[in-house]
Amino acid sequence: MINEIIRNIIRFILLVLVQALIIKNIELGRFINPFIYVLFIVVLPFETPKWLLLVSAFVLGITIDMFYDTAGMHAAATVFMAYIRPGVLKLFSPRDGYEFGTQPTVQYLGVPWFLSYASILVVLHHLVLFYIEIFRFSEFFSTFFRVIISSIFTLLLIVITQYLFNRKTDKE
Protein backbone atom coordinates (compact mmCIF):
# COMPACT_ATOMS: atom_id res chain seq x y z
CA MET A 1 0.00 0.00 0.00
CA ILE A 2 2.74 2.42 1.07
CA ASN A 3 4.72 1.19 -1.90
CA GLU A 4 1.81 2.06 -4.14
CA ILE A 5 1.55 5.58 -2.76
CA ILE A 6 5.26 6.23 -3.26
CA ARG A 7 5.10 4.87 -6.78
CA ASN A 8 2.19 7.18 -7.58
CA ILE A 9 3.96 10.19 -6.12
CA ILE A 10 7.04 9.46 -8.22
CA ARG A 11 4.82 9.02 -11.27
CA PHE A 12 3.17 12.37 -10.49
CA ILE A 13 6.50 14.18 -10.33
CA LEU A 14 7.86 12.49 -13.44
CA LEU A 15 4.76 13.23 -15.49
CA VAL A 16 4.69 16.89 -14.44
CA LEU A 17 8.37 17.25 -15.32
CA VAL A 18 7.97 15.54 -18.68
CA GLN A 19 4.95 17.69 -19.50
CA ALA A 20 6.42 20.99 -18.34
CA LEU A 21 10.00 20.57 -19.46
CA ILE A 22 9.79 18.46 -22.59
CA ILE A 23 6.37 18.38 -24.18
CA LYS A 24 5.65 22.04 -23.52
CA ASN A 25 8.75 22.94 -25.53
CA ILE A 26 8.02 20.74 -28.51
CA GLU A 27 6.27 22.54 -31.33
CA LEU A 28 4.18 19.97 -33.10
CA GLY A 29 2.03 22.42 -34.98
CA ARG A 30 -0.84 24.71 -34.21
CA PHE A 31 -3.37 21.97 -33.61
CA ILE A 32 -1.37 19.41 -31.71
CA ASN A 33 -0.91 19.88 -27.97
CA PRO A 34 -0.62 16.52 -26.24
CA PHE A 35 -1.07 16.48 -22.47
CA ILE A 36 0.51 13.30 -21.22
CA TYR A 37 0.15 14.26 -17.56
CA VAL A 38 -3.45 12.97 -17.52
CA LEU A 39 -1.92 9.47 -17.45
CA PHE A 40 -1.59 9.94 -13.70
CA ILE A 41 -5.35 10.07 -13.22
CA VAL A 42 -5.98 7.36 -15.80
CA VAL A 43 -3.88 4.72 -14.06
CA LEU A 44 -4.65 5.44 -10.40
CA PRO A 45 -5.62 2.17 -8.61
CA PHE A 46 -9.25 1.09 -8.61
CA GLU A 47 -9.50 1.40 -4.83
CA THR A 48 -8.48 5.08 -4.73
CA PRO A 49 -11.02 6.95 -2.55
CA LYS A 50 -13.18 9.22 -4.65
CA TRP A 51 -12.35 12.37 -2.70
CA LEU A 52 -8.65 11.62 -3.08
CA LEU A 53 -9.23 11.25 -6.81
CA LEU A 54 -10.64 14.79 -7.02
CA VAL A 55 -8.04 16.31 -4.71
CA SER A 56 -5.09 14.74 -6.52
CA ALA A 57 -6.58 15.80 -9.85
CA PHE A 58 -6.83 19.35 -8.56
CA VAL A 59 -3.24 19.34 -7.32
CA LEU A 60 -2.02 17.89 -10.61
CA GLY A 61 -3.96 20.43 -12.65
CA ILE A 62 -2.81 23.39 -10.58
CA THR A 63 0.81 22.23 -10.83
CA ILE A 64 0.55 22.08 -14.61
CA ASP A 65 -1.17 25.47 -14.57
CA MET A 66 1.82 26.94 -12.81
CA PHE A 67 4.08 25.85 -15.63
CA TYR A 68 1.69 26.92 -18.36
CA ASP A 69 0.66 30.21 -16.69
CA THR A 70 -2.99 29.35 -17.13
CA ALA A 71 -4.40 29.56 -13.60
CA GLY A 72 -7.26 27.11 -13.23
CA MET A 73 -7.66 25.83 -16.79
CA HIS A 74 -5.82 22.54 -16.47
CA ALA A 75 -7.16 22.14 -12.93
CA ALA A 76 -10.75 22.47 -14.11
CA ALA A 77 -10.25 19.99 -16.94
CA THR A 78 -8.39 17.46 -14.81
CA VAL A 79 -10.90 17.62 -11.96
CA PHE A 80 -13.71 17.11 -14.43
CA MET A 81 -11.91 14.10 -15.83
CA ALA A 82 -11.40 12.67 -12.34
CA TYR A 83 -15.09 13.16 -11.65
CA ILE A 84 -16.02 11.24 -14.78
CA ARG A 85 -13.57 8.38 -14.12
CA PRO A 86 -15.66 6.24 -11.70
CA GLY A 87 -18.59 6.31 -14.10
CA VAL A 88 -16.44 5.29 -17.05
CA LEU A 89 -14.87 2.49 -15.00
CA LYS A 90 -18.32 1.22 -14.12
CA LEU A 91 -19.33 1.36 -17.76
CA PHE A 92 -16.42 -0.81 -18.85
CA SER A 93 -16.29 -3.14 -15.84
CA PRO A 94 -15.99 -6.88 -16.53
CA ARG A 95 -18.91 -9.06 -15.54
CA ASP A 96 -17.38 -10.04 -12.19
CA GLY A 97 -15.82 -6.67 -11.38
CA TYR A 98 -12.18 -5.62 -11.28
CA GLU A 99 -9.66 -7.78 -9.50
CA PHE A 100 -8.45 -6.39 -6.22
CA GLY A 101 -4.99 -4.83 -6.27
CA THR A 102 -4.93 -4.23 -10.02
CA GLN A 103 -4.68 -0.99 -11.90
CA PRO A 104 -6.48 0.18 -15.01
CA THR A 105 -3.44 -0.41 -17.22
CA VAL A 106 -2.67 -2.17 -20.46
CA GLN A 107 -1.02 -5.19 -18.93
CA TYR A 108 -3.89 -6.02 -16.58
CA LEU A 109 -6.80 -5.49 -18.90
CA GLY A 110 -5.40 -5.48 -22.40
CA VAL A 111 -5.03 -2.89 -25.13
CA PRO A 112 -8.62 -2.74 -26.45
CA TRP A 113 -10.09 -2.23 -22.99
CA PHE A 114 -7.48 0.33 -22.05
CA LEU A 115 -7.82 2.27 -25.28
CA SER A 116 -11.57 2.62 -25.03
CA TYR A 117 -11.39 3.55 -21.35
CA ALA A 118 -8.53 6.00 -21.70
CA SER A 119 -9.78 7.61 -24.90
CA ILE A 120 -13.06 8.64 -23.26
CA LEU A 121 -11.23 10.25 -20.35
CA VAL A 122 -8.62 11.93 -22.54
CA VAL A 123 -11.11 13.30 -25.05
CA LEU A 124 -13.30 14.68 -22.26
CA HIS A 125 -10.30 16.25 -20.59
CA HIS A 126 -9.11 17.89 -23.81
CA LEU A 127 -12.64 18.97 -24.66
CA VAL A 128 -13.03 20.83 -21.37
CA LEU A 129 -9.52 22.21 -21.50
CA PHE A 130 -9.63 23.58 -25.03
CA TYR A 131 -13.08 25.06 -24.70
CA ILE A 132 -12.15 26.78 -21.46
CA GLU A 133 -9.04 28.06 -23.16
CA ILE A 134 -10.88 29.46 -26.17
CA PHE A 135 -13.87 30.48 -24.02
CA ARG A 136 -16.30 31.07 -26.87
CA PHE A 137 -18.20 29.04 -29.38
CA SER A 138 -17.34 31.00 -32.50
CA GLU A 139 -14.43 28.70 -33.36
CA PHE A 140 -16.30 25.60 -32.41
CA PHE A 141 -15.12 23.31 -35.19
CA SER A 142 -11.50 24.31 -35.31
CA THR A 143 -11.36 23.82 -31.53
CA PHE A 144 -13.03 20.46 -31.91
CA PHE A 145 -10.45 19.50 -34.50
CA ARG A 146 -7.73 20.47 -32.04
CA VAL A 147 -9.36 18.34 -29.37
CA ILE A 148 -9.45 15.26 -31.59
CA ILE A 149 -5.91 15.60 -32.97
CA SER A 150 -4.41 16.37 -29.57
CA SER A 151 -6.31 13.50 -27.96
CA ILE A 152 -4.91 11.07 -30.51
CA PHE A 153 -1.39 12.22 -29.75
CA THR A 154 -1.94 12.10 -26.00
CA LEU A 155 -3.33 8.55 -26.27
CA LEU A 156 -0.40 7.51 -28.42
CA LEU A 157 2.04 8.85 -25.85
CA ILE A 158 0.11 7.22 -23.00
CA VAL A 159 0.13 3.78 -24.64
CA ILE A 160 3.84 4.07 -25.49
CA THR A 161 4.60 5.02 -21.89
CA GLN A 162 2.60 2.03 -20.68
CA TYR A 163 4.75 -0.30 -22.75
CA LEU A 164 7.96 1.42 -21.77
CA PHE A 165 7.54 1.56 -18.01
CA ASN A 166 5.14 -1.14 -16.92
CA ARG A 167 7.09 -4.14 -18.12
CA LYS A 168 9.03 -4.14 -14.87
CA THR A 169 5.93 -4.50 -12.71
CA ASP A 170 4.83 -7.28 -15.01
CA LYS A 171 7.76 -9.43 -13.93
CA GLU A 172 7.39 -8.74 -10.24
Binding site: W51, L54, F58, G72, M73, A76, V79, Y83, I132, F135
Partner: protein, 279 residues
Protein backbone atom coordinates in the same frame (compact mmCIF):
# COMPACT_ATOMS: atom_id res chain seq x y z
CA UNK B 1 -32.07 20.21 7.55
CA UNK B 2 -31.08 16.72 8.58
CA UNK B 3 -32.28 15.39 5.27
CA UNK B 4 -30.25 17.99 3.40
CA UNK B 5 -27.09 16.97 5.22
CA UNK B 6 -27.82 13.32 4.55
CA UNK B 7 -28.42 14.15 0.91
CA UNK B 8 -25.20 16.08 0.60
CA UNK B 9 -23.28 13.34 2.38
CA UNK B 10 -24.77 10.72 0.13
CA UNK B 11 -23.63 12.62 -2.91
CA UNK B 12 -20.42 13.93 -1.38
CA UNK B 13 -18.46 13.02 -4.50
CA UNK B 14 -20.64 15.23 -6.66
CA UNK B 15 -20.61 18.13 -4.23
CA UNK B 16 -16.87 17.95 -3.71
CA UNK B 17 -16.50 17.96 -7.48
CA UNK B 18 -18.82 20.94 -7.72
CA UNK B 19 -16.86 22.90 -5.12
CA UNK B 20 -13.45 22.19 -6.65
CA UNK B 21 -14.66 22.81 -10.19
CA UNK B 22 -16.30 26.10 -9.23
CA UNK B 23 -13.08 27.13 -7.58
CA UNK B 24 -11.15 26.24 -10.75
CA UNK B 25 -13.49 28.23 -12.97
CA UNK B 26 -13.25 31.12 -10.53
CA UNK B 27 -9.46 30.96 -10.84
CA UNK B 28 -9.70 30.88 -14.63
CA UNK B 29 -11.97 33.89 -14.84
CA UNK B 30 -10.09 35.79 -12.18
CA UNK B 31 -6.54 35.22 -13.34
CA UNK B 32 -6.56 34.88 -17.08
CA UNK B 33 -6.85 38.15 -18.83
CA UNK B 34 -8.51 36.82 -21.95
CA UNK B 35 -11.29 35.02 -20.12
CA UNK B 36 -11.83 37.98 -17.82
CA UNK B 37 -12.22 40.32 -20.75
CA UNK B 38 -14.51 38.08 -22.74
CA UNK B 39 -16.58 37.31 -19.65
CA UNK B 40 -17.30 40.97 -19.28
CA UNK B 41 -17.79 41.48 -22.99
CA UNK B 42 -20.21 38.67 -23.65
CA UNK B 43 -22.47 39.89 -20.88
CA UNK B 44 -22.58 43.27 -22.55
CA UNK B 45 -22.89 42.11 -26.14
CA UNK B 46 -26.55 43.04 -26.41
CA UNK B 47 -26.25 46.50 -24.92
CA UNK B 48 -23.16 47.43 -26.94
CA UNK B 49 -24.79 46.79 -30.32
CA UNK B 50 -27.67 49.12 -29.38
CA UNK B 51 -25.30 51.83 -28.20
CA UNK B 52 -23.18 51.56 -31.33
CA UNK B 53 -26.16 52.14 -33.62
CA UNK B 54 -27.34 55.18 -31.69
CA UNK B 55 -23.82 56.64 -31.63
CA UNK B 56 -23.51 56.23 -35.40
CA UNK B 57 -26.70 58.23 -35.95
CA UNK B 58 -25.69 60.91 -33.47
CA UNK B 59 -22.35 61.49 -35.20
CA UNK B 60 -24.05 63.04 -38.25
CA UNK B 61 -25.34 65.98 -36.22
CA UNK B 62 -21.87 67.00 -35.19
CA UNK B 63 -20.08 66.71 -38.53
CA UNK B 64 -19.75 70.46 -39.08
CA UNK B 65 -18.19 71.27 -35.72
CA UNK B 66 -16.03 68.21 -36.06
CA UNK B 67 -14.72 69.44 -39.43
CA UNK B 68 -13.87 72.84 -38.04
CA UNK B 69 -12.02 71.31 -35.15
CA UNK B 70 -10.06 69.09 -37.48
CA UNK B 71 -9.09 72.03 -39.70
CA UNK B 72 -7.82 73.91 -36.65
CA UNK B 73 -5.89 70.93 -35.50
CA UNK B 74 -4.36 70.54 -38.98
CA UNK B 75 -3.17 74.13 -38.93
CA UNK B 76 -1.63 73.65 -35.53
CA UNK B 77 0.11 70.44 -36.60
CA UNK B 78 1.51 72.11 -39.71
CA UNK B 79 3.16 74.78 -37.60
CA UNK B 80 4.82 72.00 -35.68
CA UNK B 81 6.47 70.57 -38.79
CA UNK B 82 10.23 70.81 -39.01
CA UNK B 83 9.89 72.46 -42.40
CA UNK B 84 8.21 75.46 -40.77
CA UNK B 85 10.91 75.93 -38.17
CA UNK B 86 13.94 78.13 -38.18
CA UNK B 87 16.97 76.40 -36.80
CA UNK B 88 18.30 78.41 -33.84
CA UNK B 89 20.26 75.65 -32.13
CA UNK B 90 22.71 73.15 -33.43
CA UNK B 91 21.76 69.54 -33.05
CA UNK B 92 22.92 67.88 -29.91
CA UNK B 93 22.97 64.16 -30.32
CA UNK B 94 21.93 61.95 -27.47
CA UNK B 95 20.93 58.33 -27.10
CA UNK B 96 17.75 57.87 -25.11
CA UNK B 97 17.51 54.52 -23.42
CA UNK B 98 15.86 54.09 -20.05
CA UNK B 99 18.72 51.99 -18.68
CA UNK B 100 21.45 54.24 -20.00
CA UNK B 101 22.31 57.62 -18.63
CA UNK B 102 23.87 60.07 -21.00
CA UNK B 103 27.37 60.75 -19.73
CA UNK B 104 28.89 62.55 -22.69
CA UNK B 105 27.01 64.88 -24.97
CA UNK B 106 28.63 65.81 -28.26
CA UNK B 107 27.90 69.15 -29.89
CA UNK B 108 29.18 69.88 -33.34
CA UNK B 109 31.20 73.10 -33.73
CA UNK B 110 33.07 74.87 -36.51
CA UNK B 111 36.63 76.15 -36.20
CA UNK B 112 36.68 79.84 -37.12
CA UNK B 113 40.24 80.66 -36.11
CA UNK B 114 43.26 78.47 -35.68
CA UNK B 115 46.98 78.67 -35.06
CA UNK B 116 49.70 76.05 -35.02
CA UNK B 117 52.94 77.94 -35.35
CA UNK B 118 53.20 79.55 -31.94
CA UNK B 119 54.36 77.97 -28.69
CA UNK B 120 50.89 78.43 -27.18
CA UNK B 121 48.26 77.77 -29.79
CA UNK B 122 44.57 78.51 -29.61
CA UNK B 123 41.51 77.75 -31.66
CA UNK B 124 38.27 79.69 -31.80
CA UNK B 125 34.96 77.87 -32.26
CA UNK B 126 31.55 79.22 -33.23
CA UNK B 127 29.81 77.88 -30.14
CA UNK B 128 29.52 79.72 -26.84
CA UNK B 129 27.61 79.89 -23.61
CA UNK B 130 24.33 80.30 -25.52
CA UNK B 131 24.93 76.84 -26.95
CA UNK B 132 25.84 75.38 -23.58
CA UNK B 133 29.62 75.51 -23.85
CA UNK B 134 31.45 75.96 -20.55
CA UNK B 135 35.03 76.31 -19.44
CA UNK B 136 37.28 73.24 -19.52
CA UNK B 137 35.06 71.21 -21.77
CA UNK B 138 36.85 68.74 -24.01
CA UNK B 139 37.21 69.36 -27.72
CA UNK B 140 37.83 66.40 -29.99
CA UNK B 141 37.71 65.93 -33.72
CA UNK B 142 36.85 62.85 -35.70
CA UNK B 143 40.56 62.05 -35.83
CA UNK B 144 41.42 62.57 -32.15
CA UNK B 145 41.96 64.90 -29.23
CA UNK B 146 42.06 68.66 -29.97
CA UNK B 147 42.08 70.54 -26.68
CA UNK B 148 40.13 72.17 -23.85
CA UNK B 149 37.84 75.17 -23.77
CA UNK B 150 39.57 78.17 -22.19
CA UNK B 151 37.31 81.21 -22.47
CA UNK B 152 33.66 81.42 -23.41
CA UNK B 153 31.69 84.34 -24.81
CA UNK B 154 28.02 84.34 -25.79
CA UNK B 155 28.47 82.70 -29.18
CA UNK B 156 32.14 81.81 -29.38
CA UNK B 157 34.75 80.03 -27.34
CA UNK B 158 38.51 79.81 -27.41
CA UNK B 159 40.20 76.49 -27.10
CA UNK B 160 43.55 75.81 -25.55
CA UNK B 161 44.88 73.49 -28.20
CA UNK B 162 46.88 70.37 -27.47
CA UNK B 163 49.72 72.42 -28.93
CA UNK B 164 50.02 74.56 -25.79
CA UNK B 165 52.62 74.58 -23.06
CA UNK B 166 49.99 74.25 -20.32
CA UNK B 167 47.95 71.47 -21.88
CA UNK B 168 48.38 68.08 -20.24
CA UNK B 169 46.31 65.14 -21.35
CA UNK B 170 46.22 61.92 -19.36
CA UNK B 171 47.07 59.31 -21.97
CA UNK B 172 47.55 55.56 -21.96
CA UNK B 173 49.02 52.88 -24.16
CA UNK B 174 45.96 51.18 -25.55
CA UNK B 175 47.34 47.65 -25.51
CA UNK B 176 48.17 47.40 -21.81
CA UNK B 177 46.72 50.47 -20.12
CA UNK B 178 49.87 51.96 -18.59
CA UNK B 179 49.34 55.70 -18.52
CA UNK B 180 51.18 58.99 -18.19
CA UNK B 181 50.88 62.69 -18.94
CA UNK B 182 51.07 63.82 -22.54
CA UNK B 183 52.51 67.28 -23.22
CA UNK B 184 53.62 69.25 -26.23
CA UNK B 185 57.22 70.31 -26.32
CA UNK B 186 56.71 72.93 -29.01
CA UNK B 187 58.93 71.42 -31.68
CA UNK B 188 56.50 70.36 -34.38
CA UNK B 189 52.73 70.52 -34.67
CA UNK B 190 52.39 66.81 -35.35
CA UNK B 191 54.44 65.36 -32.49
CA UNK B 192 53.85 65.34 -28.72
CA UNK B 193 55.65 63.73 -25.78
CA UNK B 194 54.30 61.09 -23.45
CA UNK B 195 56.18 60.76 -20.16
CA UNK B 196 56.29 58.33 -17.24
CA UNK B 197 55.71 55.07 -19.12
CA UNK B 198 57.35 52.28 -17.04
CA UNK B 199 60.25 50.48 -18.72
CA UNK B 200 58.69 47.04 -18.39
CA UNK B 201 56.13 47.97 -21.02
CA UNK B 202 57.15 46.43 -24.34
CA UNK B 203 56.65 49.34 -26.71
CA UNK B 204 56.74 49.03 -30.46
CA UNK B 205 56.66 51.80 -33.02
CA UNK B 206 53.05 52.25 -34.09
CA UNK B 207 51.38 51.40 -30.77
CA UNK B 208 48.16 53.33 -30.28
CA UNK B 209 47.94 56.06 -27.65
CA UNK B 210 44.46 56.96 -26.41
CA UNK B 211 43.07 59.06 -23.57
CA UNK B 212 43.10 57.36 -20.17
CA UNK B 213 39.98 56.75 -18.06
CA UNK B 214 41.30 59.11 -15.36
CA UNK B 215 40.51 62.33 -17.12
CA UNK B 216 37.62 64.46 -15.94
CA UNK B 217 37.36 66.19 -19.26
CA UNK B 218 38.00 63.67 -21.99
CA UNK B 219 36.04 60.48 -22.58
CA UNK B 220 38.08 57.31 -22.37
CA UNK B 221 39.72 55.78 -25.46
CA UNK B 222 39.73 58.86 -27.67
CA UNK B 223 42.56 58.50 -30.13
CA UNK B 224 45.60 60.73 -29.59
CA UNK B 225 48.23 59.25 -31.84
CA UNK B 226 50.74 56.47 -32.34
CA UNK B 227 54.19 55.75 -30.95
CA UNK B 228 56.88 57.20 -33.21
CA UNK B 229 59.96 56.47 -31.06
CA UNK B 230 60.86 56.07 -27.40
CA UNK B 231 63.96 56.41 -25.25
CA UNK B 232 65.06 55.83 -21.69
CA UNK B 233 67.04 58.64 -20.22
CA UNK B 234 70.03 57.54 -18.14
CA UNK B 235 69.18 57.08 -14.46
CA UNK B 236 65.43 57.02 -15.03
CA UNK B 237 63.06 54.10 -14.94
CA UNK B 238 60.62 55.59 -17.37
CA UNK B 239 60.37 55.89 -21.10
CA UNK B 240 59.88 59.18 -22.81
CA UNK B 241 57.74 58.46 -25.85
CA UNK B 242 57.52 60.57 -28.95
CA UNK B 243 53.94 60.43 -30.15
CA UNK B 244 52.79 61.17 -33.68
CA UNK B 245 49.47 62.99 -33.28
CA UNK B 246 46.58 61.58 -35.25
CA UNK B 247 44.92 64.98 -35.60
CA UNK B 248 46.23 67.28 -38.27
CA UNK B 249 45.91 70.62 -36.52
CA UNK B 250 46.49 72.54 -39.71
CA UNK B 251 43.42 71.09 -41.36
CA UNK B 252 40.90 71.32 -38.50
CA UNK B 253 37.50 72.53 -39.66
CA UNK B 254 34.82 70.71 -37.69
CA UNK B 255 35.22 69.57 -34.09
CA UNK B 256 32.99 68.30 -31.29
CA UNK B 257 32.45 69.93 -27.93
CA UNK B 258 32.14 67.15 -25.36
CA UNK B 259 30.05 67.77 -22.26
CA UNK B 260 30.64 65.45 -19.33
CA UNK B 261 27.29 65.36 -17.56
CA UNK B 262 28.78 63.83 -14.42
CA UNK B 263 31.78 66.10 -14.16
CA UNK B 264 30.41 68.33 -11.42
CA UNK B 265 29.28 65.43 -9.32
CA UNK B 266 32.71 63.81 -9.52
CA UNK B 267 34.52 67.08 -8.82
CA UNK B 268 32.42 67.85 -5.76
CA UNK B 269 32.97 64.38 -4.38
CA UNK B 270 36.72 64.48 -4.91
CA UNK B 271 37.00 67.94 -3.37
CA UNK B 272 35.04 66.79 -0.36
CA UNK B 273 37.34 63.82 0.09
CA UNK B 274 40.42 66.02 -0.02
CA UNK B 275 38.99 68.48 2.49
CA UNK B 276 37.99 65.82 4.93
CA UNK B 277 41.54 64.45 4.77
CA UNK B 278 43.05 67.83 5.59
CA UNK B 279 41.28 68.06 8.90
Amino acid sequence: MRNLIVFIWKHNFFFLFLIIETFCIYLVVQNNFYQKASFVNSSNAASTSVLQTSAAIEEYFYLKTENENLAKENAWLKTQLIASKFVMMTDTHQVNKPTLHQKYVYTEAKVVNNSTSRRNNYLTLDKGSNQGVKKNMAIISSTGVVGQVQEVSDNFCTVMSLLHSKTTVSAKIKKDGSYGPLVWNGESYDFATLNDIPTHVKLIKGDTIVTSPYSLTFPENVLIGTVESFERESGKYFYTVKVKLSTDFKKLTHVYVVTNMFKEEQEVLEKKTEESNKE
